[in-house]
């Protein structure tokens, strides 16, 4: 795994963990300190990062 992929994974995982913790501690709802909509947005970006890194790894395995 490349350095940029490792950084991307670390960032998205950290962001997701922090977002879930903030959302949960704020009551896990739309009017909490981190709204449900925000959690979904963070999760979508984190998932996007995971998909991209996964695709890069798959291409590497498949063609190299």
């Amino acid at each position: 795994m490349s350095a940029s992929a490792r950084i991307a994974l670390a960032l998205s995982l950290a962001a997701l963990i922090v977002a879930v913790a903030l959302w949960w501690s704020g009551g896990a709802w739309q009017y909490g300190a981190l709204p449900t909509r925000g959690l979904v947005r963070v999760a979508s970006f984190a998932m996007g990062a995971a998909v991209c890194i996964g695709l890069a790894a798959w291409i590497k395995r498949r063609f190299s």
């Binding site: 960032l11 998205s12 977002a19 009017y31 909490g32 890069a56 590497k60």
Partner: protein, 403 residues
């Protein structure tokens, strides 16, 4: 370079961009960092810190005219006459229909428009269905709340197949002798505040939750459920009554069930305006808390202007500031106005500072207490934990309790 290695690098960098976006999204959505972003944005100082021109030109002598109890009583009678068409508060006005325990037996309802439950509704439902959520459809999601004995629906309608109201009356198993009237604002229903109401019920408060006219159950969308009885008609057949009768009806109903040690009313956004007027009309409300709303009419700007319609015809009798004083007009009565200083929607900035001390002095001269608080903990249009802690301290300590 081979095409595969270009693709690998492309996806790696795209992944990095997504990772950075995830971090930025946390910063954008989390209240404390959102406030920082708001404060650093271009034009933030003019919007949130500086007093606009009109605020410094307020002629407070014209807006704060109540300085003795007799004047307050006279003004209240005139207001009641304007809203209800009678000289005294209609203490015998009761709901036309009561549906008991709607969480267990909701009765027949027209199609539920947002059947996703309170947790997911803002993600999966369209706005036009979110604002139509009715208690007959939603109550089942509240069935397992701690300390909930039942939810009663109090309904009635004022004009033939038009202008109805529906109040959700949450009864706790272990009641603490305190009643909270909750008034939601526009573009939402009280169902959006389910965590707030759930917390209140768990602590033993009896809660009567209300929507603005046209929202939630306050439409004749479900004609069979809400608008087939003979209408109340007569003096209630007007817009002012539709706005301001429900808090009186909820209170009359509550007092007929049991006596309450304290009665508080909390309203957010447009609900803050209803709270302001309800407290001015009804001295039984000993603590009123308008949140994220309520400014003198000549300080309104942009989308805040829509609030004029709520108090149209009333501010000729009592200015917005006089209405506030009337809600805190004697010992034991208190009003706390909470403003979200960095509110992304409306009623933001320091405008209330231009009249706060005069307003507080006017209420104090009558023996009441009026506080203006600025919530700087978030940049949204909501009741925050910061505000809720202060509201609950005031409710639990009674109207006189200091911060």
């Amino acid at each position: 370079m081979r095409r595969s290695s270009i693709l690998i690098r492309l996806f790696d960098y795209l992944g990095l961009l997504f990772g950075i976006a995830a971090v930025l999204a946390v910063l954008y959505y989390w209240d404390p960092t959102r406030v920082m972003i708001k404060r650093l944005a271009p034009g933030a100082e003019a919007r949130f810190e500086q007093m606009p021109k009109g605020a410094t030109d307020l002629t407070l002598a014209d807006l704060l005219t109540l300085n003795e109890a007799a004047a307050v009583d006279m003004r209240r009678r005139t207001l009641i006459n304007k809203v209800f068409g009678v000289s005294g508060l209609p203490l015998d006005l009761m709901p036309q229909r009561i549906i008991r325990d709607v969480e267990k037996t909701p009765g027949a309802v027209k199609k539920c428009l947002s059947p996703t439950g309170p947790s997911l509704v803002h993600l999966w439902s369209r706005m036009d269905t979110i604002i139509m959520r009715g208690i007959g459809c939603e109550a089942r999601f509240y069935r397992d709340w701690r300390n909930l004995a039942g939810i009663d629906e109090l309904t009635g309608h004022m004009q033939n197949r038009w202008r109805n109201y529906a109040i959700a009356y949450f009864r706790p198993v272990q009641a603490n002798g305190r009643l909270i009237l909750y008034q939601q604002g526009l573009a939402a229903t009280y169902h959006d505040q389910h965590r707030l109401i759930e917390g209140w019920v768990a602590e033993g408060y009896t809660v009567a939750a209300m929507n603005m006219p046209g929202y939630g159950d306050n439409t004749c969308y479900d004609l069979e459920r809400y608008c087939v009885d003979p209408p109340m008609g007569g003096m209630y057949d007007k817009e002012l009554a539709q706005n301001f009768a429900p808090p009186v009806i909820a209170l009359n109903h509550a007092m007929a069930q049991t006596s309450f040690e304290h009665i508080a009313m909390v309203g957010v956004s447009s609900g803050a305006w209803v709270t302001l007027v309800a407290a001015a009309l009804d001295p039984r409300i000993d603590l009123s808390v308008p949140v994220a709303g309520v400014l003198p009419l000549n300080l309104l700007q942009g989308k805040e202007e829509s609030a004029r319609g709520i108090v149209a015809g009333l501010t000729d009798i009592a200015s917005v500031l006089d209405l506030a004083v009337m809600g805190a007009d004697r010992p034991g009565r208190r009003q706390i106005q909470i403003f979200n200083r960095f509110d992304r929607c409306c009623f933001y900035g320091p405008r209330p500072e231009s009249y706060a001390s005069d307003l507080q002095r006017s209420a104090a001269a009558l023996g009441g207490r009026l506080d203006l608080l600025f919530d700087e903990s978030h940049a949204r249009h909501k009741i925050s934990d910061w505000a809720l802690r202060r509201i609950m301290a005031a409710i639990d300590g009674g109207a006189e309790r200091a911060e």
